[in-house]
Symmetry: C2
Subunit: 180 residues, 2 copies
């Protein structure tokens, strides 16, 4: 079956600080016309910083859209759509946790919610870690905590960690490290 849709027109809806919303007129595979609303996003990175003794440097951060504190791996947006994701991963890890890693292993990427947003998050495992000074923005509030990888795997499997990037990256590292 032909599945592709073709852009006909774009309407700008809202261009804010984090959300850029557009509404496109498209031709469906059957020739009919439909409208597609979506948020445009530059892309992001997420890192599993794994210490030599098997702990992951995790973050607790309030997420306003869910009105609760999330337990997450360090992550952040690309500065520009064409920024090298590995450079962004190193920057975000250093800024948010103070950690610098000598070894990075790609964990693939994830598309967060493809019906609504074109956001893609590139994931990395970071090892050979030295912890230094972090430098948060004055309006950034993040608590940092070391949690054993084995405990995080259990939390994901019990449904206690719901953040998508954290679940995927932790389960991928579990498989790479053959932790059953």
């Amino acid at each position: 079956m032909e599945l592709y849709e073709k852009q006909l027109e774009r309407e700008e809806i809202y261009n804010g600080v984090v959300l850029h919303v557009v509404r496109d007129k498209v031709a469906l595979p059957n020739g009919r016309v439909a409208y597609r609303e979506m948020c445009l996003h530059k892309g992001a990175v997420a890192v599993v910083p794994l210490t030599a003794d098997g702990n992951v440097i995790m973050e607790r951060q309030f997420r306003y859209a869910h009105n609760r504190v999330f337990l997450e791996i360090p992550a952040g947006k690309l500065d520009r759509q064409d920024e090298n994701p590995l450079d962004a991963a190193k920057r975000e890890l250093k800024e948010e946790t103070g950690a610098v890693a000598k070894k990075y292993t790609p964990l693939g990427a994830l598309d967060t919610t493809p019906a609504l947003v074109n956001e893609k998050i590139y994931m990395y495992l970071a090892e050979d870690i030295e912890i230094g000074e972090r430098k948060l923005d004055p309006d950034e509030f993040i608590d940092v905590e070391l949690i054993p990888l084995s405990e995080l795997i259990d939390m994901v499997m019990k449904g206690e960690i719901q953040d998508a990037k954290t679940q995927i990256a932790i389960l991928k590292v579990a498989r790479l490290k053959k932790m059953i």
Copy 2:
């Protein structure tokens, strides 16, 4: 550290067919004022329909925001925010693939992209499956395909499947079924 943010005011930005965008004025933990843009979402469900011979009923669907065809597990939005997610899972599986399952196992939930959208997706493993007639909307274009679970696990680990809900649900089923 106190991490919570308090809503002060809400501005409606756009209320479309799939996107409902608001901009809230909030008080930060340090007392300063900031603005939070986000999309409001009713929630969704996703199902891993696993047949007796180890295949998963998968879907290929064009995702306009990414301009490409995605390989995904069956999924769909809740009809109402308070709809029972298991009822929605059964409905979406039947409508999109024609399958009916006798056994459902919860796989937890995922928050797709907590900085932008309050969307939560409830995941299930569906077993004891009978395949019948599906009933797509006239403007819905979805190809259905059986793929071995073992092959899907490899595809997730190689980065060939990027959809977040599909990666999480497949990796969770892999652990539940002890597939190494």
